[in-house]
Subunit: 317 residues, 2 copies
């Protein structure tokens, strides 16, 4: 039985992950505030080690593994950023990582994972089950599974992004983050509400991967068909068993953005802010820049959650 | 008669420009240190207001104009970043800017200059003299000329980039910046040597725009034919009358990089650091990442001087 996610766990994570996770910068731009019609503070997880927030959750779990279990290694399945994060954290912890990745994951993400000494096992997203493959490896090795989002230690680790943001900018009307499986937003909402019960929490999803939007509407976890969106990190077909109740408790609304709005935002952040943000990482910014927030939100923290994409994909925009 | 550039002038500039110029972040990455074989600290002037360091020098000069002269406006000629900077600083000072720009300047730079209320006068780099056009406007209007580099107040303003860098990272073996007309490096070298007489100063130029390299070798200002390099901000055909003696005094060596090395570095900084840096802004980084430094330099501050380029140009890389 896992403990429930709490603000204390986020604070503990904030100490535990420090050998590895960077305090990423927060950027504010008056010209972008004008464009967005709201005071926007970007938390730049694209500048995080491994190029995404995922190192926070992965290292929080891996650094919590009892010493006697470490030699049996860790296993993860991931479309990319979580894979790199687990590889980096396992390397630092001195244990072996096996990562189950879709064969069509961005080349850069596959390479980066291998570069950190992980063994990569690829599978076909259309015909194979990554859970089944991971299960088999777990049984063979006795390794520890590092889930991409649905684990309290992973959620708590991700929450440190919001903790850092609110340490720099303590007064915010609202906070918004992209939702894949919901680990990032669950962790961030938990610590943000503990620091300021009045803060409003928003999530952002692609229209084409609106599983959490539908789930919150239905009041239960809804599974959608395998989503087809350029935001490859947000393709989880349903929120997690652990993340969903946390999102239900804290999230005021999930804002939906189109593929075109995501693409425009990646380009806007690149050309105007000089920051490379991947499609998944730009979804929350897309919602804000395309005026999807309620009008009375005057200041917001926006998590730019990652920056890993292939140059060839970017050049096609 | 202009006063000689001094460290005190850089410190004065540091106060004067503050309403406008940002303290840009300094980024360090252990994986990049490994790749470069030296401890590298990037000063991110691509994240500066206006997307380049130029706002520092432009605002230092414009904010020094006597109040009775302000209504007659300011004039500048520039291939781009200086143009935007003068437009922004003039807007803030409440005066009118006229900018003489090459007709083939990047579209984004032309637009950004106009967006800040400046009047843009275009000319053909092959057949017209921007100096002659600027001269005519100055005579007609009585405006103040804001030179792109060859003025002590402009050089002093640019030097604040190094002052900020050394406030964050006080112990550095060396400092390197790109050289166009030499204003940035002259200002940076002056304050850096005042703070630490032992610090070693390097410049970086494209092989195809090696006017300062040749001038330092010859011991006098050498003019080269109009350089053809993707580093469009470094096309000044000779160092300035004010900047050259300062560079002669402080610069140990000018490191040269090929067009291919510049392109690779732009891509490397984008994909690995998630930072958009324009070709001119990446020239100093290119020299360091391509191992052109003397072997005994163990730590260096590298100025990433700007981040303005057209998406279409980037996509072609």
């Amino acid at each position: 039985m896992q403990p429930d996610l709490s603000a204390v766990m986020v604070r503990d994570a904030d100490v535990r992950i420090r050998p590895l996770a960077r305090h990423t910068p927060v950027f504010t731009s008056t010209s972008i505030n004008r464009a967005a019609g709201v005071e926007v503070h970007f938390k730049c997880e694209n500048l995080q080690r491994g190029g995404a927030f995922k190192i926070r959750g992965a290292s929080n779990l891996i650094f919590s593994i009892p010493e006697e279990d470490l030699p049996r290694g860790v296993v993860a399945f991931s479309s990319g950023n979580h894979a790199q994060a687990v590889a980096i954290a396992a390397e630092r912890a001195g244990t072996k990582a096996t990562i189950v990745m879709p064969v069509d994951a961005p080349r850069g993400k596959l390479d980066a994972t291998r570069n950190h000494g992980a063994r990569v096992v690829t599978y076909d997203r259309k015909t194979e089950s990554r859970e089944a493959i991971a299960d088999r490896i777990l049984k063979e090795t006795g390794a520890t599974l590092v889930p991409p989002f649905d684990h309290p230690l992973v959620m708590a680790g991700q929450g440190t992004a919001a903790l850092e943001l609110l340490q720099v900018i303590p007064q915010l009307d609202a906070l918004i983050a992209p939702i894949g499986g919901g680990g990032l937003l669950a962790g961030c909402a938990t610590i943000a509400k503990a620091l300021d019960p009045e803060i409003r929490i928003f999530g952002a999803e692609p229209e084409r991967a609106n599983d959490t939007f539908l789930s919150l509407q239905a009041g239960r976890r809804v599974e959608i068909p395998q989503p087809d969106t350029i935001a490859d990190g947000l393709r989880a077909p349903q929120p997690g068993a652990f993340t969903f109740p946390v999102l239900q408790r804290h999230v005021e609304k999930v804002l939906l953005v189109s593929e075109q709005e995501i693409r425009e935002t990646v380009k806007f952040l690149l050309m105007r802010m000089k920051l490379l943000v991947e499609p998944s990482g730009a979804v929350a910014a897309a919602a804000v820049l395309h005026h999807k927030l309620p009008k009375n939100v005057r200041s917001i923290g926006v998590i730019l959650s990652g920056g890993n994409l292939d140059f060839e994909d970017l050049a096609r925009y």
